[in-house]
Amino acid sequence: MGLWKDIKGTFLPFWVTLRYLFRRPVTVCYPERKQPPAPRYRGRLVLTRDPDGEERCVACYLCSAACPVDCISMQAAEREDGRRYAAWFRINFSRCIFCGLCTEACPTLALQTTAEYELATRELLQVVCEKDELLIDGCGKNTEYNFYRLAGIGVVAPRGGNPGETPPEDIRTNMP
């Protein structure tokens, strides 16, 4: 019985492969036919703005820390109003593996993936993107979130002026 099974197991596959030889290939021939990417496709990254039109990125370095291939670099700086922002922000898409870990790490929803995937070029520096190339005029996938309204340290509102905060304590009184 075992021997019969072995022989069958050896010769049946020949029939299978022969049948498949005449099947229609499932390959989609790419440049002639383009498939629309899935809604959550992880393509080129962009920096978005908050609903007030300010840059969402606070240059917290979490994306660069999460990046497994070290393709994100930046320098944080402080604006006069105390807002932390990226003085420069660079993504090297020639290194990027589009894993999306940076967008998961981003606490301000600044860094988001888009469906753009046709990035190939012969010019290496074209895929090294600076902040002005990455920053878009829009909120991306979330149109409501504004980090500084929830952070609890002021900047967009006077201290203690954001929702869910009490006004600043008066340290000159010991009254309860």
């Binding site: 050896t10 596959p13 020949f14 299978v16 492969t17 022969l18 498949y20 030889l21 005449f22 099947r23 229609r24 290939p25 499932v26 390959t27 021939c29």
Partner: protein, 330 residues
């Protein structure tokens, strides 16, 4: 004088024709393999260069020729450079004795469609397939890499082991045709191909040939998930290309051997002999590709056990039976 010149011209013509045909065939064999495997896996295979990918071999050749020729530090330079050449040369030399068809009348002479009809053609083929071991073994050894060395060792053991089975499978054929000349062997099959006359020998030979060509399911020497690329791990550019071409030349050589020894050579109805020969060789090649698309790789111990414990005893038994039959029939 004129006679000598004509002889020389004919030889050169034959040589050129065979070389051109065989090399083109080898190149397109690569494409055919990729396309057939692709279709078996519901893909297209290469279809970008030329019409339906027909210029792919040319593109591959240009790529291989223009690639950097790396020689690893610590490699045995000369042997490293020589090994691919041995591999290709032995495969090419085998075509010297293979008869493609019946003799034809040309310029008033009888021209045999074989470059050199040796009386010991079978032995010559056998000797060359033994020499092919050198290309692989030396390439593996000279690379100074553990993967290459292991691949080379495996190839050596495998080829030597299966050569024995192959020899034992050929012996009945030679006995039946009473000649070592390949032309004679073919002519002996005019009525009935040896495949029918010696079915066991044919099966043994088929398996041994597959093992000899180091193809799936016997591709232990270059098992990529264990040995990277086996004996040619360290090769690049056209040197790698020569190993590659050698492999596909070997495919044609072994297909020709199978055709000549068991499938009745150029004999067949309606079509001219050369066509039949080609059809048979291509059929064998397709079969090899089909096997590659179907069967998984064996384990090394299974391979050796099968060779020594099954094929060699079977071959001996077959030899004994054939000899007995021949004595009984007188």
């Amino acid at each position: 004088m004129n006679d000598v010149l004509l002889t020389i011209i004919l030889i050169v013509l034959k040589l050129g024709l065979v070389l051109g045909t065989v090399l083109t065939m080898a190149a397109y064999m690569v494409l055919a393999e990729r396309k057939i495997l692709g279709r078996m896996q519901m893909r297209y295979g290469p279809n970008r260069v030329g019409w339906g990918g027909m210029l792919q071999p040319l593109a591959d050749l240009i790529k291989l020729l223009s690639k950097e020729d790396l020689i690893p530090e610590g490699a045995d330079r000369w042997i490293f450079m020589l090994a691919p050449a041995i591999s290709t040369a032995t495969a090419l030399l085998a075509f010297a004795v293979i008869p493609f068809g019946p003799s034809v009348q040309l310029f008033g002479r009888t021209v045999p469609l074989v470059i050199c009809d040796l009386d010991i053609g079978v032995l010559y083929l056998f000797a060359l397939s033994s020499l092919a071991v050198y290309g692989v073994a030396l390439g593996g050894w000279a690379s100074q890499s553990k993967y290459s060395l292991l691949g080379g060792l495996r190839a050596m053991a495998q080829m030597i082991s299966y050569e024995l089975a192959m020899g034992l499978a050929i012996a009945p054929v030679v006995m039946a045709s009473r000649s070592f000349s390949l032309t004679a062997v073919v002519e002996a099959q005019q009525t009935l191909p040896n495949m029918v006359r010696h079915p066991l020998a044919f099966l043994i030979f088929l398996v041994a040939v597959m093992a000899e060509s180091k193809r799936i399911p016997f591709d232990m020497p270059e098992a990529e998930n264990e040995l990277v690329a086996g004996y040619h791990t360290e090769y690049s550019g056209m040197r790698f290309g020569m190993f590659f071409v050698g492999e596909y030349l070997n495919l044609i050589v072994l297909g020709s051997m199978l055709t000549v020894l068991f499938l009745g050579g150029w004999y067949g109805p309606l079509l001219p002999g050369v066509c039949w020969f080609l059809i048979k060789v291509l059929g064998v090649a397709f079969f090899f590709i089909w096997v590659r698309g179907t069967l998984p790789r064996l384990r090394y111990d299974q391979l050796m056990a099968f060779g020594w414990k099954v094929l060699v005893p079977l071959g001996l038994l077959n030899l004994l039976i054939t000899a007995a039959w021949m004595i009984w029939r007188g």
